[in-house]
Symmetry: D2
Subunit: 424 residues, 4 copies
């Protein structure tokens, strides 16, 4: 039996960042198989080439070895080599019917978790043992909810197909696009995504979300030519001049009348020594917009600036997408369905149609894929107080929200998994 | 007879800037013809397409009309339309021999001449009557010397060919290149160029010059797209962002270990109104170097920066050469020849091999052409005190230098125009 | 009697830009006096020091002389010297009551009016005779309406005080602030402002307006030190380096989460000659925001950037406000009043509460002053088709809107000018 | 007895970078004491506060512990804590006379030494055992020469005082200034500095050097305010905008007519994460000039740019000198003396007055201090072929140069250490 609290705390203690969720994903695979689900994972659940911001081999290998040391199933793991940590599971109901999916994200963050006594995971002994990594966004809870839901539904006493999606690398917008490209939601009639927290209180439920920003994360590299800064400065090709020019001009891109936009060069590193013309520089750039086309246009203009800043100083330039999310529109019918069922679940007391996000979320790619194939989707928010903001080293959730969430998802699942028209 | 003082003052009073020397050049043509020279001018003396920085049609036409009003010969003028104000004249000696050339520049500057009583041209009544133009670099004196020399040599009592070159548009480096491209000095065995002043005293003579910098003058234009800065900023393409980026990066080009270099963006103008995204900008850029290849490389890099600054903001860009000069090396033999003859001319008392320039001069193209065709050349400096710097509104020369200069040039000419080998 | 069409066409033919409305304002003064109004103008109607972007003396003097030539009353004019072209007129009703004001702007634009036959003013012979100036925003109509309204109300058959405000220099946000600072609306209980056109059709009426952006227009000057770019580049202090740095960094100021913002450097001019380190540069900058405090913060940061860009290159820097507008909130009661009366005026057929502006308007300062003193205000839009956009050289209005406008304003005035409580 | 080859190889194997020369310096101290020299070291040989670019405590401590592990004398070491690794030793001759000094630098570089078989230290087994550090500039040889010279002179059979200066942290120009500030050369009558290599051949000797550039190395730090790039971009203060602006404008500083100059931003690092406004950035900047005042002026202007780039974006800014060198003029008399003696030393066959440097060297501060106190100094270059350039991972010297160098220095020392006038 899945002990949801135990599972959440075990995951919390073993936080794995995007595409290194080897221990997490192999546990998910093993559990789902043991519950009778048909499980697709590794290269069967994600499109390799569409993944964004995959860590370097060394980091992948270290995490892989760590997972083995910490008891992950070696055979299962072997299909996840290189960071193929996506999992999809299906269960056929006793009658034909629609395909109803739930999506859970599994990855942690590169944050050093607090050791303070007032931080419950530290106090109760389940603080991260993977130094420098932390579940500071509640995905440990999401995954635990997903496994508990899986167990609840094993009776298969429904019409249609239940599909459970466990996604890697949500942080930075790196995993969902590649799962969507693999086609894992093309057959889904109704997709339910969820998040815990987000400035809510226990008992609150939001049936859907608005105002998620489309975003693109880019790594831009400039390659020049070194030379001695004193002896032959004119023989060098200065990568930092190119990068600084790009940085200023990227920030100087116009405001858009058609959409709220954001832009940030979050990191710039270049050069080696005082007396060498800097011949390499790297920058990380993030664009965001309320409108996905505006974001695409902004991304396009960032690329134009980067390429020409490089060419201006006779540098080579490469631009790589390392993360991405799009906008989402939740289907009103599903929003109502969520609220309807929540009213029947003990603990929920405050019912809202839409949560206003203001951030980015790559579940948007799965939602968009479902809708483009004629299905419906929503992104609900389940209330829990948090003692510190998301991505903070003292972030935590109120575990009382977990059983409420599973109860709600079970009701949603059973209501949606009924015969008849698969499309409303 | 040519009255040199009268001629210099008449030219001073009627100063014509580069390629508008209609009155000056037609007077030169008429005088030379009357003295029996064979005269080539208009399209016969200059390559149209190689001219740099030709003024706009309106300015050319206004100057042309002004020349007619002020008595220039209409028929002569008609061959100079569009700014073809170069003149070359030859006189065959009584025996065969080498071709010996002298070069004089004729153009004035866009400077408002002083009206102060201590400025001799104002005091004596020959201040410029062409408001906003002024002979502030001594070219009025050069032209007068050239015509006086022409008259002295009419006896043709020499062996070889005397060639007199009256060049337009020296200021900004715009006329000499086109005359060299026309081939007017290809047959010259010895070319003598001269300048009055340049921080010297009466009685000083420098047989040659060093340290002229190669230079290129560029006009760079950026063409974007206007749009309302409040309503649709993202629809504009901002020419001033491109221009400002180019400006900073042009100045940031590396120092050269191979050569002294200079760079300056002397002018930038762009934009129209506060609420319109600026859709046009223009800048003037000057490169210089002690080494002509370094100057070419610097010019190349300016072009690369301009083009990519434009492309970065999706602007069109055009780069036009509006002026140019190269480096020069005076032939030692001619330097000695000049000093030798100067020692025989009354008034010269201080004899120097080389004047150190530090500026640019497009006679360098004529000198280079002569030397590339196997001839020799020098650029002498003839002393005269000046009450204010070159290009200043109180610039003036001491007219006592003029007869000394003609005496010297006549001696040089007669010595060089002797039979025997044409090449030393 | 005021012939509104004649007046509008006469004004159209004699367009005067901001603070040069000498002929216009003296005509307004004379007419209002002849109708029995008490008229305040010149230094009595505007605070000298608070005016923004006053033209140079030469331009003021030329326009003043032109007004005299074109028949303006010399004695009236003499009180307007230096651009004091504001006019305020009051008429006491037969009973005590509230003070009800209407505001009309009088200035034209520096635009060359079309001569095409399909441009009605050209076709009918009332095209601008002041070359380079044009009424391309309908203020000729506004002024004509104001004078016609003045005439309609001369019976004084109302309770309270009618106040008519004729404002100079609305374009660029230069005149209203100084009239508000003079206190001309401090006693106003209800202020009605209006604009013709703005993408509307004949018969449309909007009772109020939203979305006017707060804006500041700045002139920034950089003063450096010239030096010869070839001989002593290090002795110069380069104003264009300071200006280009400011330009890039001003555009790079962050987007605001608290408000829509806009920023534009509309013009940059600097430098003189290719071979001189540029020692002077000037730029015009415009900030805008939906929130007036965000605009103030943006203006503050532009100043910080300008001052430090200058200091970075050891330049002097001056920043001058040359125009300004604030945000406005129309009072719902007045919006309803306008629509109520419009329903009774023949010709109006399409009734809207709020016109969405998206631009800036300095009537906002008058509206804010009225409201801060306890009064109410609105800014109505009166429909007229326009063959070309505002500020275009073929802009025109449908004169059929003029009598409708006067009929409406008269009804509004008579309704508001009733005894009893002066404040609703 | 000092085995010079053994010593050089032992030092080569244990390379210590600037201010971490704990093992090296304590070996020097112990050897000199055992030879009978009076030894000053630690705080007695260097001015703490004047040191430039002292490593962080952690690096200092690690190196200190490593020196202990590798057998350095603990008591000696204890006086060097915190990087006080300078050593000065004196030996009184049997008669009074002048003070004659020799200067040797001891530090290595942060370079990974080659393991290739064709690299002799790797081949013969004395490759660096301190990974990441390497003697790639010959200072191991310099130190070995110094100790061998010390041994040669122990007879004290001379008139005057012999002073041996072992300097830390020559690389980056960090140690000499602080030793000069301590006054260690104030009493020196003749100072001899030397370098091996520098593109020379075995048998070559240069009595002096020219063309060392003055240089300043600066670390510039920008401190801003973080904020979320999506949620509240306007609340951040962006350190990378300040740094990029500084970088471009530092490179755009004018060329100097008064001196060759160089400038380089060798490193820039800033920002943390994609979605955080970068709140910290660091850059390393190097200025150089053939004229020390030009270098000071360039340094001053870099500071002005840095401070105002920071202020422009409301950042804090700190500028720290982390290295420095000045220009030097060798005394002709000493140059001749060196060459004179070299002619008597077997192996030297090619004699030159001046080596042309083109780089920077902080011995210049010691030379300047000697000369300012009335003494004389020179900087000789002793020939040795090098298989790869200085600072390359395959740099090496020909050890055959070492005994030639000691023979030469002994002759120089004995010749200079004679009675009579101490000043020539």
């Amino acid at each position: 039996m899945v002990d949801m609290i135990f599972t959440r705390r075990d995951l919390h203690q073993h936080p794995e960042v995007g595409f290194t969720e080897f221990r997490t994903a192999s546990h998910v695979v093993k559990t789902l198989k043991s519950l009778g689900y048909q499980v697709f994972y590794g290269a069967d659940a994600i499109d390799l080439a569409s993944r964004r911001g995959v860590p370097a081999d060394e980091q992948l290998n270290n995490a892989y070895e760590r997972a083995i040391r910490d008891g992950a199933d070696v055979e299962t793991l072997s299909n996840m080599k290189g960071g193929l940590t996506a999992v999809v599971a299906t269960l056929q109901g006793k009658a034909p019917g629609p395909t109803i999916a739930f999506r859970f994200d599994m990855d942690a963050l590169p944050i050093i978790e607090s050791e303070d006594a007032d931080h419950i995971p530290a106090n109760l002994g389940f603080r991260s043992v993977y130094d420098g990594n932390m579940h500071a966004c509640g995905h440990d809870g999401h995954t635990a909810i997903g496994l508990a839901l899986a167990e609840r539904m094993t009776d298969a006493n429904f019409a249609g197909t239940l599909k459970l999606i466990f996604q890697p690398a949500e942080e930075g917008g790196r995993g969902a696009y590649a799962m969507a490209q693999k086609g894992v939601v093309n057959d889904v009639d109704k997709l339910f995504c969820l998040h815990l927290g987000l400035d809510t209180q226990l008992g609150e439920i939001y049936g859907g979300s608005t105002d998620f920003l489309a975003t693109t994360k880019l790594m831009i590299e400039f390659q020049g030519v070194p030379s001695h800064a004193g002896a032959t400065p004119e023989k060098g090709r200065n990568a930092l001049l190119g990068a600084a020019t790009a940085l200023l001009n990227i920030h100087a891109l116009p405001r858009f009348s058609s959409s709220t936009t954001r832009i940030n060069v979050g990191l710039l590193q270049g050069g080696t020594a005082l007396n060498i013309i800097p011949y390499y520089a790297k920058m990380l750039v993030e664009t965001r917009a309320a409108d996905k086309d505006a974001n695409k246009e902004l991304e396009r203009r960032v690329r134009v600036i980067a390429e020409n800043s490089a060419a201006m100083h006779e540098l080579d330039c490469s631009v790589t997408v390392i993360g991405e999310a799009t906008t989402m529109t939740c289907d009103e019918g599903l929003v109502e369905l969520v609220l309807d069922e929540a009213r029947k679940v003990e603990g929920f007391s405050s019912f809202h149609h839409y949560h206003k996000a203001g951030a980015s979320e790559d579940a948007s790619f799965l939602i968009r894929a479902v809708q483009e194939h004629g299905g419906q989707a929503t992104y609900m928010v389940i209330g829990t107080p948090i003692p510190a903001p998301h991505h903070n080293q003292k972030f935590d959730i109120d575990e009382a929200a977990l059983p409420m969430a599973v109860n709600l998802l079970e009701r949603i699942g059973r209501r949606a998994l009924t015969g008849g028209d698969t499309r409303e």
